[in-house]
């Protein structure tokens, strides 16, 4: 049997990969994928801990998280589409009509 700490290590690695992707990538779609990695890292945690604690709360919450992640992507793709129509690019550093 694999101890719960290994799952936490795995999820932290996945979360960090996602975070680095968010911070370094300029393509809006890659950004979305990186955020998905971070959300799935949370799902790994929830399921591993649900098994560890012996209750189902975490697993059910993981299902909710997946559904919400899908909804979030749907809205995000819509915004990326209008971004492309307006700026002819999906590089997140291109739109700079407002600066402080």
């Amino acid at each position: 049997m694999i101890g719960v700490e290994y799952y936490v290590l795995l999820s932290m690695a996945v979360f960090s990969i996602g975070l680095v992707g968010v911070l370094t990538r300029r393509n809006a779609l890659t950004f979305l994928m990186s955020v998905e990695l971070m959300l799935n890292a949370a799902n790994i945690n929830l399921i591993a801990f649900a098994f560890y604690h012996g209750n189902l709360t975490g697993q059910v919450f993981a299902l909710f998280t997946m559904a919400l992640a899908a909804a979030e992507v749907a809205v995000g793709l819509g915004i990326i589409l209008v971004l492309y129509r307006n700026f002819r690019d999906i590089d997140v550093t291109v739109p700079t009509t407002m600066r402080w």
């Binding site: 307006n86 700026f87 402080w100």
Partner: protein, 510 residues
């Protein structure tokens, strides 16, 4: 014993009414797609939000959610993930008020807009999410309600899809929102790992019993990530940088909606999560620090950053956006000032501030909406001498700005005064609160500079020689005048507001 008792779920009435209104708007849209019947759509949305407001006020007056003899504090069984106590009803009222004002103002703002039904249904759906956030009592329901409030907001910011500013604002809001909700849900998973529960009261029980002691690191990290998620929703440091862009690019009524209702909803989940799930004292023993330390730092940094950045702006909407960050810093004092044995005064003061802010800030952004409707421009100079042509709206704007600055006869003064008194009171237990109180005073004085700059532009500067006659759109005018009247009359009515806010704070702190 009443002859007829409402079923338990009816306590969520204010939120359910909003949900029903949103579905009704969808129905109109499916019967007559691309309808531009503004009266029907805006009328339905306004009626729905006013009904929600009326029910929330009625429940408050009827004493729904006051602690009962059996020791319960809400009418809904806590295991269902929702609780309707005074705190929930108070914030449902704030959300409903702001929604009603926004919807009425949007009637004129959206004159030539193609997607009317979508706009109103998204506004009402977001309001439903915010209303549910006020009542959510488990990390699951909090997260779902938060997303229900966020997803329509992303779309609303970008709804002017041929306007580059609006699309850019929507993109930035979405990117930072998606990142912060990923961090928030990871924080939830860590808290779940350390305690094995997602209901707030169950988490508190595990922490009090000391069963979470071996997992202090996990719990502390999870707690910091939860603070990150809350900071995004309330537009405070370190997740504030979406706010200036999103508020500037979004349609002005949506900026008003996000900066007032969405911020208030963010604060209610912060109040609930931290006071209920992580009891002060015990949490310090488990993770090594009390979360008030984090909020003291965040409050000072947020209010200073917001006010200093606002002072350097030339664009009115952007100035209001930074001032909204500053006000998030003021409201954070409500969490920073909590102590082991109380703090309902300082938390009640933060809640009062959020209610007054709901009127004055919404009003100020709606004045910007009016200026956009006129097409006069966006900078301070463009606003020069507007009072000659629109004295009523400019008088109302002066009320909002002086109230935001905290000048005595207006509502904003009283909420800031109570925040100051509460912070001084909390300083007895925690000396750092003196610094917070000092920061509040210094920042309020600084904010007077840039607010009065706008008043000066409106009332003292000469108008440019060539300016067309300005229209008098009924909806926006009505919303602005109502907000201005409320900013003033909340003063004689402040007694009940104080009682309601402090009572609601006692519900979670005491």
């Amino acid at each position: 014993m009443a002859i007829y008792e409402l079923p338990q779920w009816a306590a969520l009435g204010p939120a359910l009414l909003l949900a029903a209104t949103a579905l009704m708007l969808f129905l109109f849209d499916s019967i007559s797609p691309r309808s531009t019947n503004r009266s029907l759509l805006a009328g339905t949305a306004a009626a729905g939000s006013l009904a929600s407001l009326a029910v929330a006020v009625w429940f408050t007056a009827a004493g729904v959610g006051t602690p009962t003899a059996e020791g319960g504090r809400g009418v809904i069984d806590p295991t269902h993930g929702f609780v309707v106590d005074q705190l929930a009803l108070y914030f449902m009222i704030v959300v409903a008020i702001v929604t009603a004002l926004i919807v009425v103002a949007s009637y004129d703002y959206l004159v030539d807009h193609a997607y009317q039904a979508e706009y109103y249904s998204l506004v009402i759906l977001a309001a439903t999410g915010m209303s549910l956030m006020a009542a959510a009592d488990s990390l699951v329901t909090i997260f779902i309600a938060l997303e229900l409030a966020s997803l329509p907001s992303y779309a609303l910011v970008a709804i002017l899809k041929d306007n580059r500013g609006s699309v850019e604002a929507g993109l930035k809001y979405f990117l930072i929102g998606a990142l912060s909700s990923a961090i928030f849900v990871y924080g939830i998973s860590l808290v779940y790992g350390a305690t094995g529960h997602l209901e707030l009261s169950a988490i508190a029980e595990v922490i009090t019993d000391g069963e979470a002691d071996p997992y202090g690191g996990l719990l502390g990290l999870g707690l910091l990530m939860l603070i990150g998620g809350v900071a995004f929703k309330t537009a405070s440091v370190p997740f504030h940088f979406w706010a200036p862009e999103a508020y500037e690019g979004a349609p002005a009524p949506i900026s008003a909606f996000l900066s007032s209702a969405s911020k208030a909803a963010g604060f209610v989940i912060a109040f609930r999560i931290f006071t209920e799930a992580f009891p002060l004292g015990e949490i310090g023993a488990v993770i090594g620090f009390d979360w008030t330390v984090a909020f003291i730092v965040l409050a000072i940094v947020t209010m200073t950053l917001g006010n200093f950045a606002a002072a350097t702006q030339d664009n009115v909407k952007r100035m209001l956006a930074y001032s909204s960050i500053g006000h998030a810093g003021y409201a954070l004092i409500g969490l920073a000032g909590l102590t082991v044995d109380g703090g309902e005064l300082v938390m009640g003061a933060a809640m009062m501030h959020l209610l007054v802010y709901g009127f004055m800030n919404t009003g100020a952004f709606l004045f910007v909406a009016l200026a956009e409707h006129w097409g006069v421009g966006r900078t301070f100079e463009d606003y020069n001498g507007l009072s000659a042509q629109a004295p009523v709206a400019c008088a109302a704007m002066a009320v909002f700005l002086f109230s935001l600055a905290g000048i005595p006869p207006f509502g904003g003064f009283f909420s800031k005064y109570f925040l100051f008194v509460g912070a001084i009171e909390a300083a007895a237990a925690n000396m750092a609160m003196l610094v917070v109180a000092a920061a509040l005073v210094v920042n309020s004085a600084l904010s007077l500079y840039y607010y009065s700059r706008l008043v000066k532009a409106l009332w003292i500067e000469e108008p440019p020689a060539t300016r067309d006659r300005l229209a008098q759109p009924t909806g926006i005018y009505a919303a602005i005048v109502v907000a201005a009247v409320m900013t003033i009359v909340i003063l004689p009515g402040f007694g009940p507001v104080v009682d309601a806010a402090i009572g609601a704070a006692e519900a979670v702190v005491g």
